[in-house]
Structures are given as structure tokens and as C-alpha cells.
Amino acid sequence: MTAINLTDMDSGQVINEIVKNGGEGITRCIQCNACASVCPVAQAGFPLYGRLLIKKLQTGHFEEIIEDPSSWACQACNRCTEICPRDARPFEIVFAFRRIQAQELAISASAFTPLMNLYETGHAVYSESSKELRAKVGLPQEPPTSVGSEKAKEEIRTLLDNGPMGDLGIF
């Protein structure tokens, strides 16, 4: 592996982008690794878990990591933010990065299905096979949520279409 030349990296601009997207704690991170110790993303073996993602962003890496799917594995469990001794709020930085990834259409394939589900049913996790299962136990096939309400689904679609997600033109 060749050495990374940090001189060419515009870390200031990358940090600014993260701050603009809600990750203003990024300059407070001192790489203590407390967040990594509790992170399910790290435990699951994704390479770019919280603290390493922050380090890459702090040093101006951007192009190299924009396609990395690790951030989409974040379960939003918030444990990193609870444990962080410097109030860097790593979870917010991961989500800021995810927002930038979405703007760059660098959304992980694993995230597409839930996203489309959300648009179509109002649920990120929803499967057609649940209808049969529900019928078996005597429940209505469609749950009394957005799934069964055209009006609710329409509202959700309107929200998504008119928000930043809509601008991406993926729906």
C-alpha cells in the first residue's frame, strides 16, 4: 500500500460538509475508540465503523470512501453517542455522511429495498409474505397502518417526493 499524501487532502472542506449535514461534533473527536467498542457495525465486521469513518473524514478522505456501504449498516442504536466522552456524537456524524452519500447517489444496494418499501408501503421493513401469516392467526391481511391506508401512503410519498430524497429522482 502506498502512503497517503495528506498534503493534497482538503480536510477543511470535508469537515465543513459534515458539519453542514448535522455532524458538528466531528472536530471534537480525539479517536479514543469508545464508540467502536460498542458499535454493532464494527462487531458485524464492516470496515468503516464510526471512529474510523470519523478519522477518514477528519483527514479529508472523501472520494475513497463515498461508495463504502458500512454507514448503511448503522442501526441507529445510539450507543456510540451515549458512550462518547467528548460529546462528538458519532451517530450524527455517520448520518451526516449518509446524507452526503445519498446526495451523491452512493446509496448501498442493501438500503435500496427498504427505501423503496418505505415509499410504497410506509414501512422500511415490509414483506408480502406477512399477509398469509396474518390471515393464519386471524388478523386482517393488511395491518391497520399506512399499508392499508391509501391516504397515509399518499401522505408519505408526498413528504418523500418534496424532501431532499425526492430531489434524487430515485422513486
Binding site: 500500500m1 502506498t2 502512503a3 497517503i4 499524501n5 495528506l6 498534503t7 480536510s11 477543511g12 469537515i15 472536530t27 471534537r28 480525539i30 479517536q31 471512529r51 474510523l52 478519522k55 477518514k56 477528519q58 483527514t59 467528548r86
Partner: protein, 669 residues
């Protein structure tokens, strides 16, 4: 018949956890001339001491043996017990059954108990032969010598002077101020160093009790606490300081240019110069090694009159001096002037030096754009070579990228194993000052780990992060020189787990703080020892932090180990307080455990004279024959002379031959 009392200490479980103290107590009762034997959980506690006191009051004992921890810390405590009860305090003997027994034989309880019995038997044997000794006192000279005019020396001198003592403040440079006078600003408050130091320097310079001896060095130190005889060599300045007004006209006239020590060699100064603008005293000196003797004006050469003009041929400095302080016709002694002083106490505050960049071959030391942090300090100071502007001296252009390298020579088995303690903080300070001034400057700092242990220090460090200064974990391996005077820093980022490179315009080395080699002869002159790190060794790292093994000599500042300014000032004030104790007491005790020459037995062979490490023994004529004599004020009771004397003519009180022999007998019985 002696009445020996034996007191066995449990020392909590330190001793009793290993040694069968009850068995030792019972054994002690069987020893000859032992009248009582007792034991206690802590003999040094108040109830423990009371047991001994009661036995003395009851007339049961007249000699005391305590079997316990160590005489190093506890002998004075038990001696005082005897003294309080009216018994001579030297009729006490300590049996060391902790340090030399239970601690080292924790695995062998039976053996340790046996050894404890033998140690107690030996102590009892000696105690039976102990004789009372009397303390002696000598008067103290109410004056102090402070060696070194940096911030440590200045504060020690001021405190001692304010207590009413005469103080000689010796500084080798023409002005006091030391390294602190070279600094731009100070962490973590970013105070201007000169602004806070200069008034204190002026105070020291004007204090009626302080005799300022700058441009001077200590030549010799003799004597002992209360009465040190010191010789101080005032270097020849070649300028009459009584007349010099510090106007600097001579410096302007002087054509010579040599590296300027005050600016850490970044620019040049003339041969006739004033140390720095805020110098105290503000007096000029002529650096005679650099002087060109303009117009043939060698020192001591008669004044010539020009045949052409009829005017005297003067050197430019002579001509320029409006005060008439320079007269090169005078036959000035190049050795300067010797000042003798008698002082009661000495504070050593000789300071430190930073390692030069030349020590680090892998860090491109030949590039002028690689500099030590002290040099950067001068570069960013308003009184520095660029008047505070950050410019590369190679092209006088502002750098865009700067890399700071920590632990250069520190925490390194090849140089110094210790942490130099202030580098992390001063590098952060320099980075912050630069980033505040030049926001477009990219600053990288390479650390093994950031060490910021101090009040408000860590907050200072994290504020640097928030300013966008890049902190990189990983020590730098080398620097490559690139075309255009740029430097490629080869590093590693442990957080990224990746090699990194930085193309920097300037690289700053936080080189290690060390004791200058030139101080070692001074240490020898004062019989002071250096520690494993090469700094002056304090008497005890925790409880005697300003004292030395030589009574009456105290330490302050970085000569004792790396320190920041607050710690230096605190220690300097501590050293002054400790040095003031003998001065204010007016007299000091001389331990009676010292050697005596029995002149009748002395053969005058003189073998003891060179062996004495304190120079206490000399030869004198007694009944027209050479005989050894001992200066009781110099003798430290080490006993070297007694072991060497082939005629058994030297007796060490408290360790006489019969006492030692009875101990050996008891041990080998």
C-alpha cells in the same frame, strides 16, 4: 550492665505477615542484658512510642532497640522518643527486619523468622556497647548563593532576599532571564513571556539584598552547610559596566557578525552586543573571540595617533560609545575578576538546553527549514529575527504547511528515555498561535501520544483540534528533501493504520530537554550527583524534592528534570523556603556520628587523606611529626577512613570497632 529494651514492630502485615513476631519477641528476651521485649502493630504510632517512653520512665531500659522497617525514614522518630524521656538519643539502635528481611524473604517465613532473630541479636549486641554522643553546632552565614539566573533562579533569589538574606545571583550570560526570556508566549494562557518575566527580572536587578553577578560562573565551592566558601569568576566584558548605559551604540558600530545565541542561531549579532532588548542588567559585552580588533586596537595596546589626521586611531566601538565605557588601551585581564563569598546555603538552578537538530540525522537537519521548537519560538517572537513574522529564512516566504514532530530525542533509548514533559504543550501552543495568525496555514502534529497533564492543559489541546489543527498518532520515521526546499515527512497514522506523507514547507522538532554537558564539572565541584536521566538528583523523589545529598545545597527548575514554568516557579519558591531554614535558624547541627583521629596511634602514612570523599582529612604537624587531622564540619561519617587506616587510629563514633565486632559475633554465633 546495660538495660536493653527490644521492641518488635508488626508494621501491620508488612513484617508480621511473614515473620513470626511473637517468636522474635520471645527470643529477644533470652539475649544478654535485655530487660524487656515487647511488640506492637505499629511501633511508630503514638501508642507504640508510648510503650517505649513508659519503660524508660519506669527505669526498665536505658538502651533501646526497635526491630522494624528502616532507619532511613524512622530512626529520627525513635531517637526523638529517647530524647523526650531524657535519654541520650544515640543510645538507640534499629534492627531492619522489614526492608532487609520480610520484604525480601516473603516466600520463606521460617527462614525470615530465623533471620529476624539474628538481626535483633546483632542490634542488641551493638546496643550493649553504645555510648552517648553529643550534637555540635556551627554558626550560619546569613547569605545564599543562587546559581543560574533563569526563572527558577530569579524566584529563588527574590524569595530569599525578601526574607532578609543577602543573595548572590550568578548567571553565565550577560543578562538574567534564561530560556523563558527567549519564549514568545506561554501555555495555557498565552501570556507574553517577556511581559510577565521582565518586571520580575527588574525586581531581582534592583533588589537591595541581591547582588547580581551576570556574565559570571561559579569556580569553586568549599565548606559545608552554614559556611560554604564560593569563588565566582566574573568574565571579562571588556566594557566598563560602571559607565555603560546600555545604549547599544557599540553594537551598531561593530562590523562583526556571529551567530546570535539569543535568537537560537537564526540570525547574527555583532562582537560588541547587548544580550537582548530587555536585558537585566542592560550592559554591553565584547565577545573577544569574535572581535576583529578593528584599527589594530588589540586590548592593552597603546593608543596610536594617525600621522595623517593627527587624531587618535580608535576602534569603531570605542568611537561610538558616548559614555566612554570602552577603552581598549587598558590592559584588561582576560580571566576577569574573582569574587569570593561566604554563604550559608546554595540553590542550584542552572537550567537546561534543548537537543540540537544535528543530533537527528534522519530528520534532514541540514535543511534550514527544519528547526527546533526553540528556534521557532524565536522566529514567532516580536523580538526575533523576523519581528514575529512566520517566514522561511531560506526564501523569506510564508510557509503553507508545517509539520510538528514530538518526542524528538525523548522516550528514545538512543537518546533520552524520559518524557521531556513540556513538548506536547508548547507544540500545541505554537500551532495555536500560528493558526490564529494565519488561518490558511495547514498544521500537522505527529505524536506518540498527547500528554497534557496540568490545570487547563487538556482543554487547551482540544481547543487546538477545534481550530482544525491535525493531530496524528504516530512517530515520524524520516524526512526527505524535495525540490524547492520542501520537505516530505514520512509518517504513519495509527488511527488510519496507514503510511502517510506530508509535503511541508517547514518542520519543527520538539527536541528533548537535557542537562548541558557543561554543567557536569559544576556538579562535581559541589559533590552533587546526577540521576539516571542525567539531571541533578534530589534527595528523595517524593519527600525531599528540592534537597540534595549535600546538606545546604538545594535544587530548582529544569536542572532537576524537565518542567514547565508554573512547576519551575513552585519548585524555586520551595527551594528558597528550604534554603531559608538554616539561614533563619542561625546555626546548624553537626551530626556526632563522624570520625575522630586518635593521634597517638596515627602513623602519619596519609592513606586516609585522598580517600576521604569530602576532603575532610588533611595532614598536620603534631610534635613535629605528620599526623592526620579531621575537620568535623566536613566529615559526613561515611567511614571510608576507618576501614583504610592500617593502625586503627580512626574511630567512627556510633560505629566503633567493639560495636561492630560485637555485632559480627552475634550474627555468627
Amino acid at each position: 550492665m546495660a538495660k536493653v529494651g527490644v521492641y518488635v514492630c508488626h508494621c501491620g502485615s508488612n513484617i508480621a505477615g511473614v515473620v513470626d513476631v511473637q517468636a522474635v519477641e520471645e527470643f529477644a528476651r533470652t539475649l544478654p542484658e535485655v530487660t524487656v521485649a515487647r511488640r506492637n502493630l505499629f511501633m511508630c504510632s503514638d501508642p507504640g512510642q508510648e510503650i517505649i517512653r513508659q519503660d524508660i520512665r519506669d527505669g526498665l531500659v536505658d538502651k533501646v532497640v526497635v526491630a522494624a522497617c528502616t532507619p532511613r525514614t524512622h530512626e529520627p522518630i525513635f531517637r526523638r522518643v529517647l530524647e523526650v524521656e531524657g535519654l541520650n538519643k544515640y543510645l538507640f539502635e534499629m534492627a531492619n527486619i522489614r526492608d532487609q528481611d520480610s520484604w525480601v524473604h516473603a516466600h520463606d517465613k521460617k527462614g525470615a523468622t530465623q533471620k529476624a532473630k539474628q538481626i535483633v541479636a546483632s542490634a542488641v549486641a551493638k546496643a550493649r556497647n553504645l555510648a552517648p554522643l553529643e550534637d555540635k553546632y556551627v554558626d550560619v552565614e546569613k547569605a545564599a548563593l543562587v546559581i543560574g539566573g533563569g526563572v527558577a533562579g530569579i524566584f529563588s533569589a527574590l524569595d530569599l532576599a525578601n526574607m532578609g538574606n543577602k543573595v548572590y545571583l550568578v548567571e553565565k550570560e550577560p543578562s538574567i532571564g534564561g530560556v523563558m526570556a527567549q519564549l514568545d508566549k506561554t501555555f495555557p494562557t498565552n501570556d507574553c513571556s517577556a511581559c510577565i518575566l521582565t518586571p520580575v527580572m527588574v525586581d531581582a536587578g534592583n533588589h537591595p539584598n541581591i547582588e547580581l553577578l551576570t556574565y559570571a560562573e561559579v569556580e569553586s565551592v568549599d565548606g559545608y552547610i552554614g559556611n560554604f566558601d564560593v569563588k565566582i569568576r566574573k568574565k571579562q566584558s571588556y566594557i566598563d559596566w560602571n559607565k555603560c548605559t546600555g545604549c547599544g551604540a557599540c553594537a551598531e558600530a561593530c562590523p562583526v557578525r556571529v551567530p546570535n545565541e539569543y535568537n537560537a542561531g537564526l540570525d547574527n549579532r555583532p562582537a560588541a552586543y547587548i544580550h537582548f532588548p530587555q536585558a537585566v542588567p542592560k550592559k554591553a559585552v565584547i565577545d573577544i573571540d569574535a572581535c576583529l580588533n578593528c584599527a589594530g586596537r588589540k586590548i592593552g595596546r597603546e593608543l596610536k595617533i594617525s600621522k595623517k589626521t593627527g587624531k587618535p586611531l580608535l576602534a569603531p566601538c570605542e568611537r561610538a560609545c558616548p559614555a566612554g565605557a570602552i577603552d581598549r588601551s587598558l590592559n584588561l585581564d582576560p580571566k576577569g575578576e574573582l569574587v569570593e563569598a561566604r554563604v550559608g546555603a546554595i540553590v542550584v538552578a542552572t537550567g537546561f538546553k534543548v537537543m540540537e537538530k544535528e543530533c537527528f540525522k534522519n530528520l534532514a537537519p541540514d535543511s534550514p527549514n527544519v528547526m527546533t521548537a526553540l528556534q521557532l519560538e524565536r522566529l514567532i517572537s516580536a523580538t526575533g529575527p523576523t519581528e514575529g513574522k512566520l517566514l522561511r529564512l531560506t526564501d523569506m516566504r510564508k510557509p503553507k504547511t508545517i509539520s510538528f514532530l514530538s518526542c524528538v530525542g525523548s522516550r528514545d533509548e538512543n537518546h533520552h528515555t524520559y518524557c521531556s514533559r513540556v513538548c506536547c504543550m508548547y507544540m500545541i501552543k505554537q500551532a495555536k498561535l500560528l493558526k490564529e495568525k494565519y488561518q490558511d496555514l495547514e498544521i500537522y502534529m505527529h505524536f506518540m501520544d498527547v500528554r497534557t497533564p496540568g490545570k487547563d492543559f487538556d482543554e487547551y489541546y482540544t481547543s487546538a483540534l477545534a481550530m482544525g489543527i491535525h493531530i496524528i498518532r504516530g512517530r515520524v520515521g524520516g524526512i526527505d528533501k524535495l525540490p524547492g526546499d520542501r520537505l516530505r515527512v514520512q509518517g504513519y497514522d495509527a488511527d488510519l493504520s496507514s503510511n502517510i506523507e506530508i509535503d511541508a514547507d517547514m518542520v519543527i522538532l520538539a527536541s528533548a530537554i537535557e542537562l548541558p554537558e557543561t554543567i557536569k564539572p559544576l556538579a562535581q565541584k559541589m559533590s552533587l550527583t546526577l540521576d539516571g536521566s542525567g539531571f541533578f538528583k534530589e534527595l528523595h523523589p517524593k519527600l525531599k524534592p528540592v534537597e540534595t545529598a549535600v546538606e545546604g545545597i538545594f535544587l530548582a527548575g529544569c536542572c532537576q528534570g524537565p518542567k514547565d514554568i508554573p512547576d519551575t516557579v513552585a519548585q524555586a519558591k520551595g527551594a528558597a523556603a528550604a534554603a531559608a531554614v538554616p539561614l533563619s535558624q542561625g546555626r546548624v547541627k553537626i551530626e556526632p556520628i563522624i570520625s575522630e583521629i586518635i593521634t597517638d596511634r596515627c602513623s602519619g602514612c596519609g592513606i586516609c587523606v585522598p580517600l576521604c570523599p569530602y576532603g575532610a582529612i588533611s595532614m598536620d604537624s603534631v610534635h613535629e611529626k605528620p599526623r592526620a587531622v579531621i575537620d568535623i564540619t566536613q566529615c559526613k561519617g561515611c567511614g571510608v577512613c576507618t576501614t583504610a587506616c592500617s593502625s586503627s587510629a580512626i574511630q567512627l563514633h556510633g560505629y566503633t570497632e567493639d560495636q561492630i565486632m560485637s555485632q559480627i559475633q552475634a550474627l555468627t554465633a
